[in-house]
Structures are given as structure tokens and as C-alpha cells.
């Protein structure tokens, strides 16, 4: 099948700021994203584990968004502007998609 190159942005981010991150992505008109839960991990800020937790503070979420390569720099800059002082990491990888049009920037969504 005919495939097109896209970028997969993967952000591990502390839960309290997920809404800010979503707002940034929405404002940039990203075509979509998916958020998955994490249950445990480790980083420079130490280990964490969600078992039995009631506070959202040490909770991490993994957000990934498949975007057009042309949008990458702009998106990274916007993400870093908001998240630079927060707990989390960002990485980018190459992916191929079949339906190119599905992953194009849209106007700001509802």
C-alpha cells in the first residue's frame, strides 16, 4: 500500500498539566492525539507507582500524536514553551500512515 511519512510525538507528562498540554495541541490544530495511562516509572524525579494512590500529583500520562513532519518544529516549540518546567519527557519517531489526509492539521477544533 501507498504510505506517507509522518512523525509520532510521544510525551510523558505529569497528570496535573495534561489539560494545558491538550490546549496547546488544540490551539496548534493538531489532527488528533491519544492519551494512555502509565502505572509506574522512574525518572530524575524518582520512582513512582500508582497503586492505591488518590492524589494526582505523581501520576504520569503518555500522550501520542501523529503529525505531519512539516508541523514538527512548530509543535515542539509550543510544547516546550508550556512544559519546560514540568515533570516529563518528549520524543519523536518516524511512522508511516496509509491515509495521509487523516493526519493533516485542522482548524482549531471544538
Amino acid at each position: 500500500m501507498q504510505t506517507t511519512l509522518k512523525k509520532r510525538l510521544e510525551i510523558v507528562i505529569e497528570a496535573p498539566v495534561i489539560d494545558r498540554l491538550r490546549r496547546v495541541l488544540d490551539d496548534k490544530g493538531v489532527s488528533g492525539y491519544t492519551i494512555i495511562p502509565a502505572v509506574a516509572g522512574r525518572g530524575r524525579h524518582g520512582r513512582w507507582n500508582r497503586e492505591g494512590e488518590i492524589s494526582d500529583t505523581s501520576r504520569m500520562l503518555v500522550l501520542f500524536a501523529i503529525i505531519d513532519p512539516s508541523e514538527l518544529d512548530d509543535m515542539l516549540a509550543a510544547v516546550y514553551a508550556v512544559l519546560s518546567r514540568q515533570i516529563g519527557i518528549v520524543s519523536v519517531s518516524d511512522v508511516q500512515v496509509v491515509r495521509d489526509e487523516h493526519f493533516r492539521r485542522t482548524g482549531k477544533p471544538a
Binding site: 505529569e14 494545558r20 524525579h45 524518582g46 497503586e51 492505591g52 492524589s55 500529583t57 518546567r85
Partner: protein, 320 residues
Amino acid sequence: MDLFDLAAANLVSPPILFFLLGLIAALVRSDLAIPEAVAKAISIYLVMAIGFKGGVEMAASPLVAAALAIAAGILLSAAMPFISFGALRATSRLPRVDAASIAAHYGSISIVTFIAASDAGAAMGLAAAGFMVAVAAAMEAPAIFSGLALAGRREGEGGGTMIREIAFNGSIVLLVGAFAIGWATGERGMAMVEPFFGDIFRGVLCLFLLDMGLVAGRGLRRSAGKLDWRVLVHGLHMPLIGAALGLGLAIPIGLDPGSAALLMTLAASASYIAVPAAMRLALPEADPSVSLTLSLGITFPFNLVLGIPLYFAAAQWALG
């Protein structure tokens, strides 16, 4: 009952013993764990129940007394961060922003500690006035603003959003909402839901405190030895200072002993839900692990096991 009897009765009650079981299980690295989703749901149930019961009991409360107690609570919440901040800066080398963040935690309250204290009071026959629930709700937020001021932060552009996020924090909305529903439906409402919100309450609290023991123990195990002892000691000083101030305000406004003990408990407790989340938004440079360890690992167990019986004894001695 004298202080010793009170403390002993509190210590051998199922809720406290299940908390200690959780603490020990975590310290010996048992894999015992309550799923996050259920722990959260239980905390929602407890807040709903305590709010509702407080509301139902409002029928019996004079509104002036309620207003005075709420004002006292707001004063404590707003003022205590200055004490905590001063003490931390004097005794430790914590950066300003970390000290300010911890100070906000101590000004605000721990709803879990409040629930445990209400239950302990009920078990001792020292039930509190219904409006103490409203006092708890009113004390959640003021400390956050004091903390931000101490950090030298102006509210800036994010200010409006932040005030809104704090005021509409889930546990505040639920506490206030359930309180209002209890007040509106009164004894008739209570009769409809008593088996769920009343009868099984203390048993559910046992399960919840088992969970809190597990989480607190895990946190302690992880950060043991990493925290400066001067900071750790702060987690034992502040409850005593808070309780003393609480008692000092409870006397002039004429609270009954049960309510006074709850005001002391609120002042003595440190936030574990609302303030940590607010700090991640407003003071992201502050290291959350220090304040969480202090609040859940040191101050919460201290209050639960020793503080609460002490506060009840002191309130009864002063006001009984």
C-alpha cells in the same frame, strides 16, 4: 476518659490498626495493594458521606456559630503558611520556592485526616457540629494563595484560571455539594441513605486507611534517608503548632469540645490532594516529593495515631 485511655482506645480501634497494617505491609515490601481506581472511589464515597452528614446536622446548628467557625478556619489557613515558611527557612536550607510550597500544604487541610477524626470523635461520643464540614471546605484554598505570595509569585495571566481550578477542585465541590444536599434534605434524606452513608462508613474507612497506610509506607521507604532531618521534624512540629492555634481560636468562639478537636485537627493536618496539584500548576519548580513525603509520610501518620486522641483530650480538658 483521660488522655491515656483515649489514646489507647484510639490505638486499638480497627481503623487505626488497619492503617498500621498497611504501613507495616509496605515497609516489609509486601505486594499488597488496592487498585488506584478503587482507592479514588473510596475517597469520593468518604467525602460524600461526611459532607452529607454534616449538612443534615446543620438543622441543629446556629448559623452565627457556623460563620464564626468558618472565619476562624480561613484565618488559620491563610496565616499558618507564614509560620511554616518562617520555620523552614530558619532551620533548613530548602530553596524559597520549596519552603513556600510546603508551607501551603500545612496551611491547608487533609480531608482524610478530618474524616478519621470525625469518626474517632463519634466513636468517643464527642460528635462535632455539622458546620465543621463547611469549615474544612473553607480551609482548603486560602493557604494556597499565602503560599504563592511567599514564593514571590504574582498571579499573572494564569491567575483567573488558577483560582477557578482551585475553587472547583473535585474534593471541594463534592464536599460543599454533599453538604448542601444534606442540609436541603435533612433527616428525611438521611433516612433514605443511612445504610450506605452511615452504617457501613466506619468499615469502609478501615479499608481506606489500610490503603493510606500502604501508600504512606511506600513513600517513606522510598524517601527514607533522603530527606534532611530538619525538614522531617517540621512535619511533627507543624501539627502541634496548628493544633495549639486551633484550640486558641476555638475557645473564644465558643466551640463545643468535639468541634474544637476537629478545628485543631484541621489546623494540624497537611493537604495531600488539593494543594499538591495546585503547586504543580502554579509553582512547578517546587519539588513535589519533599512536600508529599512530609504530608503523607510524616504528618498524616502522626496525626492519625497520636495527634487525634491528643487533640480530643486537649479540647475536652479546655472546654469539656
